[in-house]
């Protein structure tokens, strides 16, 4: 029997993997992927908790919203990365430190 707990554990795992990707990867694309992973972990949670809202399917609907938003975010993110690449000739975030004071 797959319980809610399994979903949550998997979701937590995915979140952690995403977090790790964000913090540790040296490639902006990979960070974007990490972000996607974290969003997906959240979507998984939405779907999993959706079982308590059988009447309106709020969870599923939110999941759909989130997927659409994530897609949009990825599109924007990729566009930014593309511009960053054009500007800096790299997408290693370690080398882009212009935000430093």
């Amino acid at each position: 029997m797959i319980t809610l707990t399994h979903f949550l554990v998997v979701s937590a795992c995915i979140f952690c993997i995403g977090l790790y990707a964000i913090l540790a990867k040296r490639n902006a694309i990979m960070i974007l992927v990490g972000i996607e992973l974290m969003i997906n972990a959240a979507i998984l949670n939405f779907v999993a908790f959706g079982k308590y809202d059988k009447l309106h399917y709020g969870g599923q609907i939110f999941a759909l919203f989130a997927i659409v938003l994530a897609a949009a975010a990825v599109a924007v993110g990729l566009a930014i990365i593309l511009n960053v690449y054009r500007h800096y000739k790299t997408i290693n975030p370690d080398h882009i430190t212009d935000l430093r004071d």
């Binding site: 964000i22 913090l23 960070i31 430093r100």
Partner: protein, 671 residues
Amino acid sequence: MSGLPYISPIYASIVVVGLPLLAFLLQAIRGKKSTSGLFALVSIALSTLISGLFVLPQVWQEAPVTATVHWFTIGDSVFTLGILLNNLSALMQFIVCIIALPVHIYSKAYMKGDPGIHRYWMYLSLFCFAMLGLTVSKNLFMMYVFWELVGIASYLLIGFWFTKEAAVAANKKAFIVNRIGDIGFLIGIAILFSLFSTLDLVDLFGNEGVFAAGLYKDTGLITLAGICFFLGAMAKSAQFPLHVWLPDAMEGPTSVSSLIHAATMVAAGVFLMASIFPLFNANVLLLMAIVGTITALSAAYFALCQYDIKKVLAFSTISQLGYMIAAVGIGVWDAAMFHLATHAFFKCLLFLCAGAVIHEMVHHKEHTKLDFDPQDLRHMGGLRQYMPKTFVLMSIASLALAGFPLTSGYLSKDAIIIAAFEWAAQHGPGYIVIPIILVIVSILTAFYIGRLIFKAFFGPIRIPQIDQQAPHIREAPQTMLVPMIFLGLGSLFFAFSLNPLSYHQAEILTGFSVRYAFEEIHSLHLVIPIVLTVGALCSWILAWKWYVKGKYPLQANSLWITRGGEQFGLDELYKKTFVNGTLALGRASQWCDKHVLDGLIVHGTAHVVKSLSRAIYWVDKHIVDGLVNTVADTTYYIGHLLRWVQNGRIQNYFGFAFTIILIGIVYLIFR
């Protein structure tokens, strides 16, 4: 004086004083354009005329005539301008005129061709104005004004050749020494003013004045006043030890020396003493007698040791002035005035003759282009054959100076010496020293003037490079001779007294009719003239042997003579003590100003203030500001520490954000 219109002697005497002033102003305005001296000559001639015709005859033996106008008021005290004409002042005014006139005429020839002649006439007129004004001043304040004005005229005339270093040093010396006397005069005035609140000569010393009426207490202050006035007279009349300026004053033109430094200005001291005679009490009079005697003796000795013809005469003047002061000191101021009058003539003549000689010597010097001192007696000799008239005139004057019978000097000198013996007999045995010294001085006088005549006019000709056939030394011109002859006549007895052997008939003495405080001793009136005449004759025989026959027994460079020539180093002593002392004091006060007042106090204060402000600045910087800075620095350091957080790495930001959220969650969980 019938036939002459009557002119008030007051106005006449104002004209007498005013004319030279007018001449001075005109000459000052015309400047270089007028070199003839016409103004000066005409003015003094008119002054002489008016003084002789309208002032002296109307005042002589009459009651004093006075006139006073208000001058100014200070507080409650009124100061006046006034003219006082009595026997004394009218006589003195006339003497000044009658001496000044020949000197003016003489100057016309003597000063001919001098580039500064316009100044000469200007100064001479100024002098005449001041001197004539001095004689008739009614109050002491006015007299002081003229007293200083004659001083300035004398200053200007001594330094007439201002490119000569010696001349400008001499005129400075003359003025400053005279200033010492002037200070005395001023203090004297202050004393009298503070005692009697008036300076009027009539109010003070007139017949009904304070002193005649005995309305005063003979306090120490009166003595001090007497000494102060005497100090003034000492400087002006060149009394020891303030006589040092007079020999130096010979740097001026000889005509000036004859008028100012022999006949008139230097006699002003004696005149002053006579004018204020009642002021002096016994102590001051004794002091005057002593100072006068010392002066007479020392100057006669110094005169012996001089080689400069003018210096001999200068010391002779000092010596004779000593006589006059001594005469005032023993109370016979009428005799002093008598001697002043006779001395004025013969001493003026001596100087004019000397001037004529020097004039020719200079002429010779310029012609031969040799470098010798034209005034040095050692370069003269035998001048008798070149300048016979000058020789005769100078001899007459010399005889008068020596007090030889038939001359005017005989009368006046006897008057003084006899009175001195009578005075000494009255006072006691110790006082006899003074008349004896006066006799000795009289014989010395005969000797040194004999020496001068013999050295200059007799003996071998010592003039360098003289051409015996065509000498450049000639008799003085007419313009110079006429005034000299006039003065020569004035040096003989008949100018003053019809009796050549007794001074008692002298008009001047009878005119003053002073009552002496001592008794007449008749025997003296016979003995003294004989002693003096014999003494003079003996000294001349000796001088003849020494200087004409060349049997000179002494070493010319013996210490007594060379040191005497330098007045035993008196000048040197003054220079070392007073002059250098004053200069040192000046330097000391400058040092004090620079280093103590300015250096120590002002700059010291400034330094202290500056140091204090530096210290405060240090405190401000390190303590007050330090505290503020510490706070700022700490903040800054902390900020610096946190700064690395903002490293621009997007992932780190994520990490921090996440950590903080995590901490937040942990906090929420465990709170």
